[in-house]
């Protein structure tokens, strides 16, 4: 216990740098052998990747459909009454499920003589521009008529702009389950109605908001929270699967987030037997390098990343030049004094 306390005390102010080398664990092991550093190198294990998203269950739609077939419209509506079912399906990019949910709600409401609610759901479906699912063929002609009429009504109305903001620069915005729409700050022309807006960024947990767009001037701002390690690893794995380099800036940032490591050194094998590395501080790559010697590469990156400063050579220190100057002056003065006071030997001769 005492030894632990002493060790903790001694290392309390010593910065640490995490070293990872996904796919080449020997590189991290070599990096840990780097000596003469005023910091601690660690090699943490990468956390397991979690799922990027969980598929929305469609069992409620099946329940509603069965209730509708049995003309039990109340049970049908009860199964699908929650608007969150639609937004959740859109968050999961399951446009079909979102469309089926709304279509069956329209069918159930018409069966229950709730024409107003049915029209509202039909217009929501139209506003989301979701394709009509094949389920429509199993419904009454009234349902299809209402859906078509609502679509015509919404289509006839002018688009309404919606501005989406986020403090996370470069965050991507998805509208109604369709990703890649734009980058914040984002202005998008949408059909009047309720829309599902999602803002996402690497290293952050995506956030979704249901926004009612009725008139110009609508604006929403979504702040994101740092992703959990499992999510960050899932994002990193997805980027790797898409061809991202292990030592790219995005990869280093995601690994820093996943490992909760503000100082991260990412190593990977390069061309010709060289080792590539990148040093990320707070998720930002500050130094890159490629060498054949892992410890040398580690030192180089840490110095260039200003994690620590190498000892300044003697000739670069001002006291050295002050001493040299003083020595030169002293030597000059001494030489001058010696020359000015050189001993004289005078030989005396008789020369009458």
């Amino acid at each position: 216990m005492l030894a632990l306390l002493v060790a903790l005390t001694l290392t309390a102010d010593t910065p640490s740098v995490a070293v990872v080398s996904p796919g080449a664990p020997s590189l991290a092991a070599k990096a840990l052998e780097t000596g003469g550093l005023p910091l601690v190198l660690t090699s943490p294990s990468l956390p397991p990747a979690g799922p990027l998203s969980t598929p929305a269950p469609d069992s409620l739609v099946s329940t509603a459909r069965a209730a509708w077939v049995q003309a039990d419209f109340q049970r049908c509506l009860a199964s699908l009454a929650d608007d969150a079912l639609v937004s959740r399906a859109l968050e999961q990019r399951d446009l079909t499920l979102a469309a089926r949910t709304l279509v069956w709600r329209v069918a159930c409401r018409l069966g229950a003589r709730q024409e107003g609610g049915a029209r509202r759901d039909a217009e929501w479906l139209a506003a989301l521009r979701l394709p009509l699912p094949p389920d429509v063929g199993a419904m009454t002609p009234e349902v299809e008529t209402l859906l078509t009429a609502a679509a015509r009504t919404i289509d006839a109305e002018p688009l309404v702009p919606l501005v989406v903001q986020s403090p996370i620069a470069g965050a991507a915005v998805a509208f109604d389950g369709r990703p890649g729409a734009c980058i914040v700050p984002c202005r998008m022309e949408l059909r009047r109605g309720v829309h599902v807006v999602e803002v996402s960024a690497d290293g952050y947990s995506p956030r979704t908001a249901v926004v009612s767009v009725a008139a110009p001037g609508a604006e929403t701002s979504l702040a994101l929270e740092v992703a959990e390690p499992a999510l960050a690893m899932a994002q990193w794995a997805a980027r790797q699967a898409a061809g991202d380099e292990v030592d790219s800036g995005r990869s280093a940032r995601l690994l820093s987030t996943a490992l909760r490591a503000p100082r991260l050194l990412v190593l990977t094998t390069g061309d010709g037997g060289l080792v590539r590395g990148a040093l990320a501080i707070d998720g930002v790559v500050l130094a890159r390098g490629e060498r054949d010697d892992v410890p040398a590469l580690v030192k180089d990156l840490l110095v260039r990343g200003k994690v620590f400063e190498p000892s300044v050579p003697l000739w670069k220190r001002w006291p050295f030049w002050l001493a040299v100057g003083a020595a030169v002056v002293a030597t000059g003065v001494t030489t001058g004094v010696v020359l000015a006071n050189r001993p004289v030997t005078t030989r005396v001769e008789l020369n009458p």
Binding site: L339, V344, T346, R347, V348
Partner: protein
């Protein structure tokens, strides 16, 4: 041609460059250090030469042409009973003054009356076998001067001292019938032997001079207004440069 017996207080020949005492360092260490110091000193030492002169025409030789109160030339003291001439010695002294007095005889005597004006023990040089001329009847003074000068030129280019004192001194040349052996200090002597007044042949001296700095020949002369200047010779050759009655 230094005096054969001239030695300094450490037993080394006088006038040579000072050396570290042998006991200054242990034997194992002194050799390299002493060598290094000597090399440095030798490399930094300025070598100079200064000549002593009595003037181109011997105008400084008046002190070698003095008569005693009886009218006899001091040079005639060298005559022996057989009509021959005894050789004498020419002694050079470097007299420490302890300051820089004026050059005139009166100034020097006054200065030395209150101060110690002694020849430096280790700096005496003696040239033996110097035969100065005797005076013939009706000999003109200028001829005598030329003869004395000629005799002194026989010892021309004689090395008087290898290393002149680093202080103001007057250089004194004394002609005497005494031998160099008698005038050279022995190891047990505290002071230099004095001159026998009766054996003096002549004397000349310089102004106070710092030989390490002087840029000309050092002129030796004798200040007198009369040929009966034996008293001046005694003063000049005195161990204390004191007034001689």
């Amino acid at each position: 041609m230094r005096g054969p017996g001239a030695v300094d207080s450490a037993g080394a020949p006088a006038g040579r460059t000072a050396r570290l005492p042998d006991r200054a360092l242990p034997p194992a260490r002194r050799t390299p250090w002493a060598s290094a110091v000597l090399v440095v000193l030798a490399a930094c030492t300025v070598q100079r030469e200064v000549s002593l002169t009595f003037g181109t025409e011997g105008e400084g030789l008046d002190g070698f042409m003095c008569r005693d109160p009886q009218g006899q030339f001091l040079l005639d003291r060298a005559r022996d009973g057989d009509g021959g001439v005894r050789p004498g010695a020419l002694v050079f002294d470097f007299v420490r003054l302890g300051g820089v007095p004026g050059c005139r005889t009166g100034q020097l005597v006054k200065w030395c009356s209150t101060r110690e004006c002694k020849p430096l023990r280790q700096a005496r040089a003696c040239v033996p076998g110097v035969t100065l001329p005797t005076v013939t009847p009706m000999m003109k003074r200028e001829d005598l001067r030329a003869a004395v000068l000629s005799a002194l030129k026989q010892v021309r280019s004689t090395g008087v001292l290898d290393d002149a004192p680093d202080e103001f001194v007057i250089v004194r040349a004394v002609g005497t019938l005494q031998s160099c052996e008698a005038l050279t200090a022995k190891p047990e002597d505290v002071e230099l032997p004095g001159f026998d007044k009766a054996e003096l042949l002549g004397c000349a001296y310089s102004c106070p001079v710092l030989l390490d700095r002087v840029d000309q020949d050092v002129y030796l002369g004798f200040e007198t207004l009369t040929v009966q200047c034996e008293q001046g010779v005694r003063i000049c050759s005195d161990g204390q440069l004191q007034w001689q009655p």
